[in-house]
Amino acid sequence: MGAEVHGTQSFDKKKRAEIKFSDAAMAEVKEIISHYPPERIKSALLPVLHIAQAEFGGWLSPETMDYVAEVLRIKPIEVFEVASFYTMFHLKPVGKCTFEVCQTSSCWLNGAEDIVKYIEKKLNIKVGETTRDGMFTLKTAECLGSCGTAPMLQCGASFHENLTYDKVDKLIEKYRSENRLRSYTDKDYQNTL
């Protein structure tokens, strides 16, 4: 079913067979499912997709979505139609660290465009692209609720606020040396409110 359902992405049965939540992730999924009446298990879809994205490489492959459908006992198309609606779910591979720079009003008033240009130059990529080493993806985002601490960017669970060029430099350096996937579900978030 995968190939037709998931559009342009090919569906690899071998890959699909290898996908399975770790015990820790499965425990979290079960905890989430327990929040809803038993017949309303589909309600767990958004939080479970976040966990799946963090578990399986930072994006939702057709195989991953197919697996989530199985876990929640719903049809794969129900997973795809949701995953394709919300901006936080990546349907194509992304770098280990995705920089999402807010560009709406208050951030623009405080120089978000300059921050985007600076990162583009520094990483030698354009918005929407990933660095060749697969480390960074640059995206723009719409209002992230950080208007009083603009300009800002989100990377995984962390909000980096009151950005300056210097802060961006340090951030890139730090993430590069840590060299790991940054997810929305990370528990070691740093926020600078």
Partner: protein, 445 residues
Amino acid sequence: MGRKLLIHNDKVPNIHTLEVYRAHGGYASVEKALKNMTPDQVTDEVKKSGLRGRGGAGFPTGLKWSFLAKPEGVPRYLVCNADESEPGTFKDRYLMEVIPHALIEGMITSSYALGAKASYIYIRGEYFYVARIVEAAIKEAYAAGWLGKNILGTDFSHDCYVQVGGGAYICGEETALLESLEGKRGNPRIKPPFPAVAGLWGCPTVVNNVETIAAVCPIVMMGGEEYAKIGIGKSTGTKLISASGHINKPGVYEIELGIPVEEFIYSEEYCGGIRNGKKMKAVVAGGSSVPILPTELILKTAKGEPRLMTYESLGDGGFQTGTMLGSGGFIVMDEDTSIVKNLFTFTRFYHHESCGQCSPCREGTGWMEKILKKFLNGTANESDVELLWDIQSKIEGKTICPLGEAAAWPVAAAIRHFKHEFLEIARNKKFVDVSHYNRLNKVTA
């Protein structure tokens, strides 16, 4: 100093923990309500308080609660709308991050009034770390017996859960939020039926904003009548304002409704005036969707009266010369700001966030963004101003949910008050972003 009821303890160290929150009088409203009041009495106090929904629409909370259907044997739900996404608004994030127990206390007290055995806090996905903070607080509340079975030894049992979203502004609309909570795309539902009759999983549901629910605690403690003494007329109590833009002190401020707008912008207690000694040009007073007003109209109404921070005073003059309090997302722009470019960021936002269900919104927001882009490229003609006006006028009132209006209003207001800026660009065939230098200074500082 104005009175504060919601974030008066925000600077207390470790106020996010149950222990410190409790030591500062936390959870007293749960004790008072469960031990000394009936659910209807709690609802009555909320009605008397005159509290109005703090998410943006300003609908009376007590009235919303009284619409809740109560058929036998059908569960009822309270859902907290923590999908704060209106550009310029970050107050709920602040409240949840700094004093998460204030929300949980409000959830319990409000659920008691509504007879809800379970409640959900739907937090926008981008605030994932905030959800972690609220979840940790919920865990503490369970351990201390504030949540779970037979709270305080009474018959009232309650479970409270957090759900994160996936990044979609539209889920701030209550029926889209419910769809999302059910694990679907955030497409708003056609009303009626209203959520009070058929909400979450078809059950009667009340959806309230974070700040609204938190405000229930002081209302129960001081009584609705006392609460209603704060403020002016139908704008009672205190309100959290998210202040941003070209001001000296951006941040979240709790104000008594009724203070003059001028005081809010220029006093040291609040925004502290305009940054870099610049003059103010315009203000978006209640989040991106409310009409932008030029300095002279935000400080004084068309009748020449001082403009106040109330629903009524900000709305004075209708959309011709007034605006709305909305969500309290207060964005201030200095004299160097291009209103056209700021509008472009708003319109791009609405185009991006339109769910695509209704053609006028799905297509109209895209057309408006395209035309505004022509202005920024210097390729727009004078007639494009009329075209823009025409498109926005054909979105309002023609969509299932208010995202259509939210996208149309800022376009209409920008043309209404700053038409000369559009025409100047069209005549010169050139757009110069003069605010660039200032922003760069801030960024490199």
